[in-house]
């Protein structure tokens, strides 16, 4: 029976291909019953680099360093999970697509908790209070957000800084970039005259004295870790770990490492 063997072979091949396309499933649950995409591991997505929150560091175990990285490292320890960090685009993180696609359990990427984002994501409690800020080249005529009429201002796609600029910088020409790496290049290249984004990142750019932060804006922003909608057990577990870290002093230790005022 030549034919049936051949078509059976074709069928099994196709079925195997179809199954293979579905991907291997090595997801699991933690002791507390929270879902994770890889058993025994807390898989974290972050848009690196964004110092001082996240940056590359070949000397560390995870290959990354920064405030976010240290916090999630500690959280993973307390949940008895291995930490694995993946670099990914911020837009995919804040829109919820990376989490929905099962790329990672948690987005730790200096992400502000907003109502818009809450539609597509669940957030942990805030772990950092941020401000927005305006960075200009040292000696620039721009002294504040009121001087931005007709000026090209660099912002990052999908960020609260972009929304803030669009709503508050009258007449500014808003130029959107994929990430801070391009924004900083663009102000160096003179393609934009100012950058409006989270304060810590602008402060980092101002370190060498060629750029200065001329104005900061209270936006009542809290950074939170984003989790796939519906994975409430993981949110609870992480909130618990964060609470513990705040009460036993670990949080302050990490905070002072990055943001201590001299």
């Amino acid at each position: 029976m030549y034919k049936s063997r051949l078509s059976a072979l074709a069928l099994t091949t196709l079925a195997a291909l179809a199954l293979g396309a579905c991907g291997s499933d090595d997801s699991g649950t933690t002791d507390s019953g929270a879902d994770v995409v890889k058993a025994g591991t807390l898989t974290v997505c972050s848009d690196v680099p964004y110092p001082p929150f996240e940056d590359f560091d070949t000397s560390s175990d995870s290959g990354f360093k920064g405030f976010d990285v240290d916090i999630v490292d500690e959280v993973a320890d307390r949940l008895d999970l291995e930490l694995s960090i993946k670099d990914s685009g911020f837009d995919a993180l804040q829109s919820g697509q990376a989490l929905n696609a099962g790329t990672c359990d948690l987005a730790a990427s200096a992400m502000t908790i907003t109502d818009d984002r809450k539609k597509n994501l669940d957030f942990t409690d805030g772990y950092y209070v941020s401000k927005q800020s305006l960075l200009v080249p040292a000696g620039s005529d721009i002294k504040g957000i009121g001087d931005l009429d007709g000026v090209k201002v660099g912002v990052q796609q999908g960020t609260t800084g972009k929304t803030y600029t669009e709503e508050n910088a009258k007449g500014a020409k808003v130029v959107t970039f994929p990430s801070d790496a391009e924004m900083f290049q663009a102000i160096k290249a003179g393609q934009v005259k100012a950058l409006l984004q989270d304060l810590p990142v602008n402060l980092d750019h101002a370190k060498d004295g060629k750029y200065e932060v001329v104005e900061t804006f209270e936006t009542d922003e809290n950074y939170g870790f984003a989790i796939k909608k519906g994975n409430t057990q993981l949110v609870d577990d992480i909130n618990e770990a964060l609470d513990e870290m705040r009460s036993d002093g670990t949080y302050d230790e990490i905070y002072n490492k990055y943001f201590e005022v001299e």
């Binding site: 069928l11 804040q94 597509n120 796609q157 130029v175 959107t176 994929p178 393609q191």
Partner: protein, 268 residues
Amino acid sequence: MKRTTRTRLVRYGVNLAIVLVLLALALVADWGVIKQNFWNPLGVALSDGNWGDLITIGALNTIKYTVIAFAGGLVLAVVLALMRMSPIATLRWIATVYVEFFRGLPALVVILFMGFGVPIAFQWSPPGGLVGAGLLALIMVAGAYMAETLRAGIQAVPKGQTEAARSLGMGPMSTMFKVVLPQAFRVVIPPLTNEFVLLIKDTALLSVIGAEFNGRELTNVARDFQSSGPSAGTATSLVQAALLYLVITIPLTQLVAWLERRQRKATR
């Protein structure tokens, strides 16, 4: 069993297997979730949806940038092709090095160079801000590709054409521009149209160096709609952008096929 029967049965078997796999996938797929993510009703709504900005800003800019990059690239390509066939060795070398250099680099790298690298190093930025810089990069890359196409076209024009023109008393320049190039262009129209289609897709790379609201091309507009707007958080705007790209590119690829058919007839 006869060999023909056997072939036919195998064919049926394969077709049946494909249908079964497709059916299985269709049953397994969660259509509600897929629709919510790929064709979100709020995003595809005709009013207040994503279409407005996607078409009036995104698609229009994509076409505009493609036309500029193609026109600029073509002018550059003619110069490079002539240089490559020049009797002056230095000109030939310059053109060869240029073509090999820019054909060997990803367009993305050249765009980043023109957008940030060159302005930082030389304190000079290309006219037209970031869009101008990006377009200049695309022109430089497209010019290198099209120069090779043009050279092949020019060399495909029979030598007798040049000899005839010269013996009629035409100078080398007017021979090239009035006799050889017009015939060469007929040969290279299909591959050049192909280059045009490639350029349409390459304009999507411009978003990496940043853009103002009204200067965004199609991919950039779609990406902004992924994070804000009626269908934020879904891939709906990407699906819409993909459809718009196809609306632009498929007629062009069909045009290439038609031109090629016509050319085969004309040269037969």
